[in-house]
Symmetry: C3
Subunit: 355 residues, 3 copies
């Protein structure tokens, strides 16, 4: 299942890459990176926490990345690579293995079927795929790879060493920082959704702002991040956004915030730094979520969140028959509360309702 490296590497070499200490035979050859369950003798795996200890003990892995505290959970035959944080060690190693597994890449080039305007500026070593379009005034930093079918609008800019996968669209004037990864089909800088109702129908509000995205940002596939009406939509450094996420106009997202798939953020909402927004969450417009808040999946954030913490709002799954009963009773809830109050009054109890 797991692809084997064309040339195996030693446990010592792995340990050096991830800053670990080897206990056991550092010369052992490793060809794969695998989960505890599927790792064989030619594979390295990792133990990221005590709840996987049993799986670690049962693993057939030839080498195990593990913390000092949990090294006793390694299988007897495995070479141990001791690191402070095995999950970070795994992440670091995965990047190295990816580079070893990748086919040798041709020198970066501009495909003859790409259309690069003479008034666009491209840094050294930029690759542009077939069918891609780079308009006048656009600037692409050195080392960028612009995928097939991407469209980079007038005056848009991409920082160095960024990767735009196929069919990404940057509207005119969008600014993307360094080391960005944008997955296929994502659209950045489309018009925010603004119309003034009038007697003759809606009058479109031209979206004169842009989108400004910091460094080290990753954005998933088929997202839509709108340009601002007057000011810019702003996404901070290190933000990670999953697939199919909508970011409305003039939204601001603080640094290092993580947003899971299918989230919708309405216009002018502000999300702080280091937040975690679960999958399928909705964020209403013009509200603020403070730094460090965690929003559970599928919740609607319909009001501002002023204190860090873990927040949730979602109907728990029920059998459909039970749900029908519960939903019917839910609609009676304010009346049930009144009836309870009535019984309490009858029993001579003091009022207990907040208002």
């Amino acid at each position: 299942m797991h692809r084997a490296l064309p040339v195996p590497v030693s446990v010592d070499a792995i340990a050096e890459r991830i800053g670990g200490t080897v206990h056991g035979n550092g010369a052992r050859r490793i060809a794969r990176l695998a989960s505890l369950e599927s790792a064989g003798a030619d594979a390295v795996s990792f133990l990221s926490g005590r709840r996987h200890a049993q799986a670690a003990r049962d693993s057939g892995a030839g080498a195990l990345i593990v913390s000092a505290a949990l090294q006793a959970e390694a299988p007897a035959d495995a070479v141990r690579i001791i690191v402070a944080d095995p999950y970070v060690g795994y992440a670091t190693l995965s990047q190295w293995f990816e580079s070893l597994l990748a086919p040798p890449r041709a020198a970066a080039a501009i495909d003859p079927l790409a259309r690069v305007d003479v008034a666009a500026r491209l840094g050294a070593g930029v690759g542009v795929g077939p069918g891609a379009t780079i308009a006048a005034g656009a600037r692409i930093g050195e080392g960028c790879r612009i995928g097939a079918g991407c469209a980079i609008g007038e005056g848009a800019s991409v920082g160095p060493d960024s990767i735009l996968h196929p069919n990404v669209v940057l509207y005119p004037g969008v600014r993307l920082g360094a080391r960005a990864i944008v997955h296929a089909g994502t659209v950045i800088g489309a018009d925010g959704f603004g119309f003034a109702p009038s007697r003759e129908g809606f009058v479109k509000i031209a979206q004169l702002g842009s989108v400004h995205i910091g460094d080290d940002v990753e954005i998933g596939a088929n997202c839509a991040i709108d340009r601002g009406a007057l000011d810019d939509t702003e996404i901070g450094d290190g933000v990670k956004i999953d697939n199919l996420v909508q970011v409305g106009h003039n939204v601001r997202i603080g640094a290092q915030t993580v947003i899971a798939g299918c989230v919708g953020i309405a216009g002018s909402a502000t999300i702080g730094a280091r937040c975690m927004i679960g999958g399928g969450v909705g964020v209403s417009g013009h509200i603020e979520i403070c730094d460090g808040a965690i929003i559970g999946g599928f919740s609607l954030v319909e009001r501002s969140v002023d204190e860090p913490g873990f927040y949730t709002g979602a109907w728990p799954l029920q059998s459909h028959v039970q749900w029908e009963r519960t939903a019917a009773t839910l609609k009676q809830l304010p009346r049930l509360r009144q009836r309870l109050r009535g019984l309490e009054a009858r029993a001579g109890e003091p009022p207990k309702d907040p208002e």
Copy 2:
């Protein structure tokens, strides 16, 4: 922050554009359109309602678009432009500023890297970007701009003066009205989701209908609007749709309805005219929403809505700990109701439950 016009304009010129009356020095030069908070002396801003009155009084704007009723809220130094509806005035002005800010556009042309079938008909002044494909029998009205990477299927038609941003796909036979704006990555006319279960697995139901979209419609980025099974999917004049919206097969949407981002509308649902559908809403299949209904964000419309009004259904956000308690109690709700009934009976009260 806000881009300055290459050549500033006078307050008088702005007033003429938006049908306003100038109070103060109409010769003042204006270079920017800005929010009340960030406007400087070279900027025009607008006051759209009394709740922004304080911000208006504090604004450094050189000119203010304002209604007669609120003109006293303008800062002392600002030239006032009095209009009936400042928000419409702002919208109208934003379009003018956009045109002044845009780089001078090259004459519309068909890029040599576009593939336009000899049996497609293009009106005068149509521009087609690189990588775009226009198939046989397609008709593109005069003045349209077809973005890079768009694919227009056999026999599809686009009304005059429409803009298709990059990578929009119109499947064969789709009809789009005049002055349409379709943002990047949107797909119109893919097969509706229909399969007949059989003993040998699902039999695909070919989707023989199409999609018919009226005039003055705007559709956001990365939407999916499906073709009908037998009849057409129909979207009325002036409808505005935000990003990442799904419109199922045979849905009908009435004129001037506004649909926010991440909405999903299941097959054969009918939405009336002048409705407002909030972000993240779900609409079940085969139901009807009457004209003029407003659906709050993140609600599921699981039944027909027969009267105009404001409807909502979404769990309010709670701290996760409180949510866990509430969710557990929710499942007890039908039983709590029974217990309440029991206490009432014991107290000699008559039955109070609906059924």
Copy 3:
């Protein structure tokens, strides 16, 4: 409304196609396939269940596909085509009519504006649209049609007789089975969403797995199906997925499962075979849904589902004013339960709460 066949067909020919028996004039010419309500004398329609019996009796259809049990509901003038399952009959017929309605297709060819790597392998009769890219090592089975603007990555494979509509992206190494239909804008194989938090910010976890999709799978427009972290994301034979669906990394979906639009499935979730997942559903990560489960639209599946059945969780729509009252009371629910318990204790009743 419904397109007429260029050359009408006889009722006998229709019956032969769908395996039915003709009662009446089998020589009657039929030019259209239409719903009961809109069918005229030149149209064939179908009656799929008793609840449409009145519409069938009132229909002007010239021919009706109907079961033996319901044939008495056919309008007097209609020729009856008796089949075991009229809905399957309609589905089968729709495919034939689609082929008759389609313009004669040019021989499959590789457009000169496509970029097909010399190290890609294409089967016989493969068509590749303008702007499409097929990278080195990719394999495209015979009879496939690769739409305009598609991008097929290094080493990806597509089984025979598959259709990729425009602007579909397959990342490197993705494997797609035979007879696949993938609608426009869908992205398969983008990186799963994985980052290890560290003191220096998030460390990207390279996604070394891939995506493996079985035979006879249809995927809607603008979906995003991520590649696995170590193992593959797996989608079984005959799975049908609607538009704008997100499938996270390492998700497994069993054969013949149907997933409606706007569903989000978080990483490492497992969905069984023959499930039906309603529109807008969210599935949490690392949970399991057993074979044959049905999840109602807009529900969050936040826990594993171990038994087949119909499950739902979604707030029922209310007027906004009622919703505000209900939502406020909901937050009091655990306290209301305590108060009820208090009253019961006072009345001398034994404790009734589960815990």
